[in-house]
Structure formats: structure tokens, C-alpha cells
């Protein structure tokens, strides 16, 4: 049997990547009959699909986000377990991005395409590490695909935050974090660094923190940052979505030191523009070196680039003798903004 060309069975449609022989989409941006979801971030996991397949963690996150959707068929699949959909064999492998995040490995008549969703390579105490899966086409994100993006070790960044807390004990420290993944990872990293005081969290983080706890990620004492006296926040850590810290919400805090934990914080001008006083370079996406390393580890002769700075990663891959093209998918946001 002849091995089919990858683009003959996985194609880009306006609503996202479509796997023709299995009649399903991966991370579609509009409601479809059947969707395979890599992870729970809102731009990958949308509401309204008739049928959904994902890891148990991702399904739990979607249920927390959208409620249990009426009439939706949900199929949980653990990492490594095979399932056949039409003629396609599908497996999920850890992506190391957030709790439940998975790469989707698709095999059809001897041709294998791996859709990685979002991923990172460094250790994350809240989810299992990325597993390289050999394949013919590796579909990769490119959020931080410029060589200026090199995320320093997490421990250094957490150290900066703890140092600032010691330096300004009279001020609240408010850290802007993405509600899913970043918040829980930052909390875990703080606990690992020996910070065991209660951490205040914005209402938007409460549900997901409880979900992580229920999934076995211990976060230590957390307190809602609601209806409290200003004085209670002095010398304390407060975690909130980035949108809240630049807004009226932060006025309840005494002289807050504004921190944001994001890969974008690597660029001073960007951090400054956003009025950040303490930039923390902590990202759930691969940095430039991790992206390049992953292309080498996976060893695919061809890559497709989904969202981010596609041109730079395509350029780099071609220089390594890897065929590369940008998929021009629409509807993906830059996470952690």
C-alpha cells in the first residue's frame, strides 16, 4: 500500500484542522460534529461541539468552563491509549503545557501526523513532561519563535518575586497570571521555593485552582481576595488575571507592586508599556531553544506551523533541511497577554 501524502488526509479549513478519514477536527475554532481537543485554553477548547474527545483533565477543565453541555458526547482518553476513529488510529501524549494538555498523534495508512497543540519542554510540577513522538509531520505552535525569547530558569524568576516581597514588606505584590495553568504552576513553584503563607487569589482563578487540587495538584493555603480590608494585603501575594491588575480591581490593594508572569516579559519595552514593575519570565510555551530542540528530537522531515511567529520558525526549519510551511489558522490568541 502506498503511504498517503500528509496534506491529502489532514487539511486546513476555516474552522480549523480537519482529519478527513476520521471526519473530526482538532482544536476547531467553531462548533463541529466531532472535535479532538489538545488542552483547555479557550482558544483551543471552544464550546458547542456535538462530540468531544480529550484527556480526562481537559474534559474536567471544559466542564468547569462551559458547564456540562446538553446532548454532548464526551470521550475521555488517557495518555498513550490507542483509539480508532474511522481508519485513523489516534493517541494522546503529554505536551507539558498545562494540566491535561496533550499532543494528538494521528496515524493513517502508515502516515503519522502529530498535532502538538501548545507545549513546553521544561519541568512543570502541575503536569507530566512533553514526550517526543517520531512522525512524518510535526504540527507545532510558534508563540515564542524568535531567538530573543529564552526563558530563564523558573527558580530565578520566583526568586525575584520573593526578593521583592522581602524588600517591600509594606506593599502588596499582585501577580498577573493566566487563570488556567500559569496560576497553578506559579503557586506550586512558590511552594517548592518554601513560601508557605496563604496566597490570595482573584475570583476568576478559584474554580480552576479547586479543579487542580481535585486532580491531585496540592496548592497549599489559598484565600479569596474578596471583601477584605486593604491592610490585610500588605506584604502578601495576590494572584489575578492580567486584565484585572491593570484595572480598577487593583485599587483595593495597598501600593501594589505589579508583577506579570509571562514569556512576553522577556522584552523590557513590552513589560514597561504595560506598566509592569516586576516582570517575571515564566511561560507555558516553549522558548526559541526549546522549539529548535523539539524539531530535532521529533525528527520529522516536515513541520506545519500553527500560530505565533511562524515565519521565523519556518525559516529556521528550512535551514535545517526540514520542509516547513505556515498553516495560517485563524482564531488563535497569544496566550498569557
Amino acid at each position: 500500500m502506498r503511504i498517503p501524502k500528509p496534506e491529502s488526509w489532514v487539511e486546513v479549513r476555516p474552522e480549523g484542522l480537519y482529519v478527513r478519514p476520521g471526519r473530526f477536527h482538532v482544536d476547531p475554532t467553531r462548533p463541529v460534529p466531532k472535535a479532538v481537543i489538545t488542552h483547555g485554553h479557550a482558544d483551543h477548547a471552544r464550546a458547542g461541539h456535538k462530540a468531544v474527545l480529550a484527556t480526562p483533565g481537559t474534559l474536567a477543565i471544559m466542564a468547569a468552563r462551559y458547564g456540562v453541555e446538553e446532548g454532548q458526547a464526551r470521550q475521555a482518553l488517557s495518555y498513550g491509549e490507542p483509539v480508532n476513529i474511522g481508519e485513523v488510529e489516534l493517541r494522546l501524549h503529554p505536551a507539558g503545557h498545562v494540566l491535561g494538555s496533550a499532543q494528538v498523534s494521528l496515524t493513517y495508512r502508515g502516515s503519522r501526523i502529530v498535532v502538538s497543540g501548545d507545549y513546553k519542554r521544561r519541568r512543570d510540577p502541575t503536569c507530566p513532561p512533553f514526550e517526543p513522538v517520531p512522525c512524518d509531520v510535526f504540527v507545532t505552535e510558534a508563540t515564542f519563535a524568535l531567538p530573543v525569547f529564552r526563558h530563564p530558569p523558573d527558580s530565578e524568576e520566583i526568586g525575584k518575586l520573593l526578593h521583592s516581597l522581602a524588600l517591600f514588606p509594606e506593599r502588596a505584590h499582585v501577580v498577573g497570571v493566566y487563570a488556567l495553568g500559569k496560576a497553578q504552576r506559579v503557586i506550586r513553584l512558590l511552594r517548592e521555593a518554601g513560601y508557605d503563607a496563604p496566597i490570595f487569589i482573584h475570583g476568576a482563578l478559584q474554580g480552576l485552582c479547586a479543579l487542580y487540587e481535585a486532580q491531585g495538584v496540592a496548592l497549599g493555603p489559598l484565600l479569596p481576595a474578596l471583601a477584605r480590608e486593604k491592610e490585610e494585603f500588605r506584604g502578601r501575594l495576590v494572584l489575578a488575571p492580567p486584565s484585572a491588575i491593570a484595572d480598577r480591581w487593583s485599587r483595593r490593594l495597598p501600593e501594589p507592586v505589579t508583577a506579570v508572569a509571562s514569556g512576553w516579559m522577556r522584552v523590557r519595552q513590552r513589560a514597561k508599556q504595560r506598566g509592569v514593575e516586576l516582570p517575571l519570565v515564566i511561560s507555558d510555551h516553549a522558548d526559541w531553544d526549546e522549539l529548535c530542540q523539539t524539531l530535532a528530537d521529533v525528527g520529522a522531515p516536515e513541520i506545519w506551523v500553527t500560530h505565533g511567529r511562524e515565519e521565523a520558525l519556518v525559516h529556521h526549519a528550512r535551514a535545517q533541511g526540514i520542509r516547513a510551511r505556515a498553516l495560517a489558522l485563524v482564531g488563535f490568541e497569544e496566550e498569557g497577554q
Partner: protein
């Protein structure tokens, strides 16, 4: 280099002035000579390296990084030093971080051909923050939100001195300022700077509040016009000639015509103006001469510089500052009559009888070259800084306009969660489609905290568009803005700009249709 890099990194993110001061003072106290002296020079803009230019940085990076990747990165980051610092490929090295002094001294001693290798070696030894600091340092312009004066204030704070005292000795010092640190730390005498054309801190006036005017014992004061130019000090001593701004910045380079006229041995205080056929030109004309690196013959011809003298600080070796205002004024008149330097005249004294006639004079002073009156105690010595009591400025009443809020921008520091910077406009009739709003200025002061809260709320409820930190609002809120003068400005869409606008009153009550029109602005442009 490590403490210096950490300092710059902390400064760039520190929004408050006091926080910046605290960071710098802490650095100066904990960093030994000569590193801290070089850091001070970097912060005051007194370090210059000839061999290290942005082009060299690009060239070094180009040798190690794919040019396409560098190009995209530079587009994304937008700053050469930062892009180069972040993109520099790290490789294992056993070199230590260089000291700041080592960097400065090596660069100063190096020939042009040696600079690239020196720089590359340091870039390999440093981390990303260190590389950024190094590249900022050598390519000039740190842009960490610190003025020369603020850096000097931080040095003065070490020993509890006033910044004026540091400024006074500053121009007699050379890198790396060891005697300065020894003095502020109380380990040595004050450096001697009597000779030389160094800057002597100016004596400044406090504003006279209307309600205080009547209680002033006017017989003790002398009155002068307050001219609408910029305050300068001309220092010509020992063959050296310099012109300083009010804050001690050396602006000599922009005024070769004045320098040429400084054929004297003295230090004088006066107002820099553009004077054409004996008449003071609008402030806008003077602006053409400011902040210029090079001056063309045409500019010298079109905008001739002139200094209207207020005071005499030194006559040859004699320090006149301890004398009374009356005594100095007499000496100034005698000196000016004798030496008669070109491009100068004396600011005339105005006869004073009572406060009412002064008030009358001030109200009538609509000539745009006059900002108001100065009142100086006859017995006041010339003191550095802004002492309370001896000198007052009594500005004429501001002009006002009713304008419409167009855009609001988030403030900084404490105000970063508030929309506190306002761009406002007036109506202009368009040939088709009726009147439109055209911006005439920006204001971010003149309101109380409660008012700010209320405007902020209004802005959020009436936003029609967002551009980063800026919100466009639907026309609906009228401000009465006060300002010192209006002048034509080709840079503004409206064709006019206002000087020192601030919010005078918030006219919640006023319909926007009743706000002023562009013709009203035109009518306030004097002469």
C-alpha cells in the same frame, strides 16, 4: 557590571521618583569607587565613547546570528540594545563579569580597531541583563527615566545634602568623582570650585498666591517683569564660556551667537529670548533654537538669541551672591554699562508704590513676551534653590478655553489604574459635514482625587475605541482649561498648541456644542 546592570534594570521598571532615588542612593552607598563614579556619569549623560556606535553592535550581532532572524527580532523588540542583548548566543565561558570601571577605562584607552573584540568578549561573559546594560551604556542614552538632576539628588541624599550643593561643585569635578563621594560621605572637605565656568545653582521664586499678595510688605520688594523665555546662566571665566539652563544642563552648543558675545569675566543670570528689531519674539521662535545639535546660519539669522539680564553672581573673582539684591543690582548696572556685552540688556526695574498699582500693571501686561511680575526682596542674598520668602513670581491670570475631552490615557505610578491624561479639542467648521473636534492640547493636572475618580468612571462608560493604554471617548465632557499662552503649531492638527494647559474646572453641566471653536484659540494668539 552586575550591580550596575541590576540598577538599570530596577530603574527602568520603577515608576516613582522616590523609588528611583532610593535605588540609586542604595547603589551609590554599596558600590565602591571608581565604579559608582562611572555609573553616576552614565546616569548624568557625561560618559561618551567614540568607538562604540550602534553600527558596531549590529555588525557584531550579524557575525553570530542569522540576519533574517535578527531582522524579525529587531522588528518585534524595537530597540537595538535590547534586541542584541537578548539574541546574543550564549556560550560557555570562564571569563568573569568585568567591572564597570574596567569597561569604561578599557574603551577609553582602546583604539577603534580594538573595540569590537573587547565588546564581543564582554558580551560573552555577561548574561542578558548584563549585555543590555553594557550596550545601553556604550551606545549612549540609558533611557531609564532618570534625569541628571535626579542622579545628583541621589548622591546628595547620601550625606543629607541639598542637590543644589552637588550641582554647585559638579562642573569643577572630573570622572570618577571620588572627591564628591568623599565629601558627601563626610570623609573630606567640599571640593573647591571657585574658579572655572562651572554652573552655580540658580535662585528660584515661589508663586505668589492672590490671597497672600495683600499681606506682603511691598516696600521691602523690588519688581521686575517676568519674561517669557528660558532662564539661563552665562558663565565666562578663565577663558571658558558656558551657558546653562535652569537645571544646570549645558546648552552652549545651541547658542554660538551668545557664546561669541560673552567677552567678559563674570557669571550672570538672565532670560534667554529671541529678539528681533528690539522686540521679543514669541516663545515658539525660541523653541526653534532649543535642543539642537547643530545650528545653521539661517537659524542664527532668523532667530537671533539675546539675554535679558536679571542678576550678577560673579564679577571676575568676586562672589557677589552674599550681597543684597540692591547691591548686586547696582553692581550689575555698573558692570553692564562698562563692559556692554553684545546681545544682552538689563531687565528694567519697575517702580513700586503699592500692591494695587502692581496688580493693575500685571493685569494690563498682555504683551505675550511677559508672563507676569517678579517680586524680589531688596535685602535678599542670592541663594541656591527655592527659598521661601525672598522671591515671588506673580503670574498674570491664565487664559482659559472650554474644550471637549477626546482621548484619555492611563497615568503612571499611583495613577496607573486611572485614566488621568486627557487630550482635548475644540470645534472646527468643516466645508462638508458640520463641525468636527480637533485636538489642541493635553492636560494631566488641575483636578482633585475625587474628580479624577469621577472622570475615570466617565471615560470607561463612554469609550468608543481603544489603542493600547489610550481610550477614545465619545464627545460629551467639557473641561475649562487654563493655560499660559497659545501659539501656532504646524505639528498639531488644529494648527495651534497651548502652553502649560491644566484643567481649571470640569464642566459636567455644559453641553459640548457650547465648547469653544478654533477661532477662539486663534484670537488668543498674541501679536
Amino acid at each position: 557590571m552586575k550591580p550596575f546592570a541590576a540598577l538599570l534594570d530596577a530603574l527602568i521598571f520603577m515608576p516613582s521618583r522616590n523609588g528611583k532615588l532610593r535605588l540609586m542612593t542604595e547603589y551609590f552607598v554599596t558600590t565602591p569607587d571608581p565604579d559608582r563614579g562611572y555609573a553616576l556619569a552614565a546616569l548624568t549623560g557625561d560618559l561618551n565613547f567614540r568607538g562604540a556606535k550602534p553600527a558596531l553592535v549590529r555588525q557584531l550581532v550579524a557575525e553570530r546570528v542569522d540576519p533574517e532572524l535578527f531582522g524579525w527580532s529587531y522588528d518585534f523588540v524595537g530597540d537595538l540594545a535590547e534586541t542584541a542583548a537578548l539574541i546574543w548566543p550564549e556560550r560557555p565561558t570562564n571569563r568573569d563579569w568585568p567591572h564597570l570601571a574596567e569597561v569604561v577605562e578599557a574603551l577609553n584607552g582602546a583604539g577603534r580597531a580594538e573595540v569590537p573584540a573587547l565588546l564581543a568578549g564582554w558580551l560573552d561573559a555577561l548574561d542578558a541583563t548584563g549585555r543590555w546594560a553594557l550596550l545601553k551604556l556604550i551606545t549612549g542614552g540609558l533611557r531609564v527615566g532618570v534625569s541628571a538632576r535626579l542622579a545628583k539628588t541621589a548622591v546628595a541624599a547620601i550625606g543629607g545634602q541639598d542637590v543644589a550643593e552637588v550641582e554647585e561643585v559638579w562642573h569643577g569635578l572630573t570622572l570618577p568623582y571620588e572627591p564628591l563621594f568623599a565629601w558627601v560621605e563626610g570623609r573630606a572637605e567640599r571640593p573647591n570650585v571657585a574658579a572655572g565656568a562651572g554652573f552655580r545653582p540658580l535662585m528660584l521664586a515661589n508663586p505668589l498666591e492672590e490671597r497672600d499678595a495683600d499681606s506682603l510688605d511691598i516696600a521691602l520688594y523690588r519688581a521686575e517683569w517676568k519674561w517669557d523665555g528660558i532662564r539661563v546662566q552665562m558663565a565666562a571665566k578663565g577663558g571658558e564660556r558656558r551657558i546653562y539652563s535652569r537645571t544646570g544642563d549645558d546648552i552652549s552648543g545651541a547658542f554660538p551667537d551668545l557664546l561669541e558675545a560673552m567677552e567678559f569675566d563674570a557669571v550672570v543670570d538672565g532670560e534667554l529670548l529671541v529678539l528681533r528689531d528690539g522686540a521679543v519674539a514669541p516663545f515658539n521662535d525660541l523653541q526653534q533654537r532649543l535642543n539642537r545639535k547643530s545650528v545653521t546660519a539661517k537659524m542664527l539669522r532668523d532667530y537671533p538669541a539675546h539675554v535679558r539680564l536679571y542678576d550678577l553672581l560673579f564679577e571676575e573673582e568676586e562672589d557677589l551672591r552674599p550681597l543684597s539684591f540692591d547691591a548686586r543690582r547696582l553692581r550689575l548696572e555698573q558692570w553692564h554699562g562698562r563692559v556692554a556685552p553684545k546681545r544682552t540688556d538689563l531687565s528694567p526695574l519697575i517702580p513700586v508704590s503699592d500692591i494695587e498699582s502692581l496688580r493693575h500693571l500685571r493685569a494690563g501686561a498682555r504683551d505675550q513676551s511677559i508672563e507676569g511680575l517678579m517680586l524680589k526682596r531688596a535685602d535678599s542674598p542670592y541663594l541656591a534653590g527655592r527659598p521661601k520668602g525672598p522671591w515671588f513670581k506673580w503670574k498674570r491670570d491664565p487664559l482659559t478655553l472650554d474644550v471637549v475631552l477626546m482621548y484619555a490615557q492611563r497615568g503612571h505610578g499611583k495613577r496607573s489604574s486611572f485614566y488621568s491624561d486627557y487630550t482635548f479639542g475644540v470645534w472646527r467648521e468643516e466645508a462638508a459635514g458640520g463641525p468636527i473636534l480637533v485636538p489642541v492640547g493635553k492636560a494631566y493636572s488641575g483636578f482633585t482625587d475625587e474628580e479624577l475618580l469621577r472622570i475615570d468612571k466617565w471615560v470607561r462608560a463612554h469609550t468608543t475605541n481603544r489603542f493600547g493604554p489610550v481610550r477614545e471617548v465619545e464627545p460629551g465632557l467639557v473641561f475649562e482649561v487654563a493655560f499660559d499662552s497659545a501659539h501656532p503649531s504646524p505639528r498639531h492638527k488644529s494648527g495651534y498648541a497651548l502652553r502649560f494647559p491644566r484643567i481649571h474646572r470640569i464642566r459636567w453641566d455644559k453641553p459640548i456644542e457650547e465648547a469653544d471653536r478654533i477661532e477662539a484659540v486663534a484670537g488668543l494668539v498674541a501679536v
